[in-house]
């Protein structure tokens, strides 16, 4: 008799847990659906915006809105260049490589924008992500020459820097190239693109960098 009571209690407790779990699960699903609907409504509301604002979505770079990590690297002319040197200017930092065809499409656009918006305070900096053999001076010199020669062939007039200090790491470990960061006059990242972006989007991001940050404290 006692055994039967025990079994019935266990079965009733089990059924009770199942019912509670079912109700809780149903409530959770309702809550998730309502969140999803709200999210969809938000996405629909932002859709008509221009291509320049597409990077403001949920996939935006985690560095967006944060201060751009500073770096000091050597350029192809042997000059030390720091991001901090350009305080008060809008800066475009373009990670590229000599072996990257899409980078070579974007670079002439950046070159043109650098000249076009220079008077308004724009500075483009190219950072080469080509492998550098830091343990072998002869190889290193050869690799640096190849980067410098490529920059000359591409008619780049803005500083092209060798990334011999892995500065791409604080920028999120740049993987796909080109990766471009748009930094406002206060040093904040206001936009970024991974891969070849449309020319119009790059120009819009440059304008965004130029127009924001000047008055911030």
């Amino acid at each position: 008799m006692k055994r039967n009571i025990l079994v019935i209690t266990v079965v009733l407790a089990t059924l009770g847990i199942m019912i509670w779990a079912g109700v809780a699960n149903y409530r959770r699903q309702q809550h998730e659906q309502s969140n999803l609907k709200r999210l969809q409504a938000m996405i629909e509301a932002t859709e008509p915006q221009s291509a320049a604002n597409q990077d403001d979505g949920i996939d935006e770079n985690p560095l967006q809105g944060k201060m751009a990590p500073n770096f000091t690297l050597t350029d192809t002319n042997g000059r030390k260049v720091s991001l901090a040197d350009y305080k008060g200017k809008a800066v475009v930092v373009d990670f590229w490589a000599t072996w990257c065809p899409p980078c070579k499409v974007e670079i002439p656009w950046l070159e043109q924008f650098n000249k076009q918006y220079s008077a308004q305070g724009l500075q483009v900096l190219g950072i080469s992500e080509d492998d550098l053999n830091l343990d072998n001076k002869t190889e290193l010199a050869k690799e640096k020459k190849q980067i410098a020669d490529t920059a000359t062939q591409l008619k780049i007039t803005y500083p092209v820097l060798y990334d011999d200090a892995n500065v791409s790491a604080p920028y999120g470990g740049v993987d796909g190239l080109p990766t471009t960061f748009f930094i406002n006059r206060n040093g904040k990242i206001v936009a970024s693109t991974v891969g070849l972006a449309p020319r119009e989007q790059i120009e819009a991001d440059i304008k965004k960098a130029l127009s924001s940050g000047g008055g911030e404290s």
């Binding site: 199942m18 699960n25 072996w99 065809p101 899409p102 492998d131 891969g195």
Partner: protein
């Protein structure tokens, strides 16, 4: 009664397996690997039998991930990084030469005038070897540089290992 109890427990187990219960957290969230996977996979063979002391050919099959392409062994521009197969060779297992397939022409939408020579999908590299009697391992890495339509990725190495039995 015992049967009823068992059924109840089975139903509960099945319910828990089918959908997340309130006390279960995100199952996949914590296990997300942020490191990008290889763009090229070595498919086969894992093991081959060859005649000892004679020229033999091992056909190594690779697959480039969908939507990606890698430069062929002979890209059209010298600044592009060619696909190479680097293998260890020894008197026991001599690798005489490698034979790569010809690349296919590929044009980037943003560079309509430039034709690239690339591998997409499956491709085969033929290794010409001579092995002494015994069991050997042909080890190496496929060095490649991959791109998709808009981005290019740093050069990577995909490991290969083939068990070679020479009789």
């Amino acid at each position: 009664m015992r049967r009823l109890c068992c059924v109840a427990l089975l139903v509960m187990t099945a319910t828990a397996g089918a959908q997340k219960l309130p006390w279960q957290g995100r199952m996949n969230g914590a296990s997300l690997d942020t490191k990008r996977p290889q763009d090229v996979q070595y498919l086969f063979p894992e093991q081959v039998s060859v005649a000892a002391g004679r020229d033999a050919v091992i056909e190594m099959h690779f697959r480039v991930n969908h939507g990606m392409h890698i430069n062929s062994h002979t890209p059209k521009e010298k600044w592009l990084i060619p696909t190479k197969l680097l293998v260890t060779t020894s008197p026991e297992l001599k690798v005489e030469r490698m034979e790569f397939p010809a690349g296919e022409d590929y044009t980037l939408a943003a560079m309509p005038k430039a034709k690239l020579s690339v591998y997409t999908g499956d491709f085969v590299v033929r290794a010409h070897i001579v092995a002494r009697p015994g069991q050997h391992i042909l080890q190496g890495t496929l060095r490649y540089q991959a791109c998709d339509t808009n981005s290019c990725y740093p050069p990577r190495e995909a490991p290969i290992a083939v068990d070679v039995i020479a009789k």
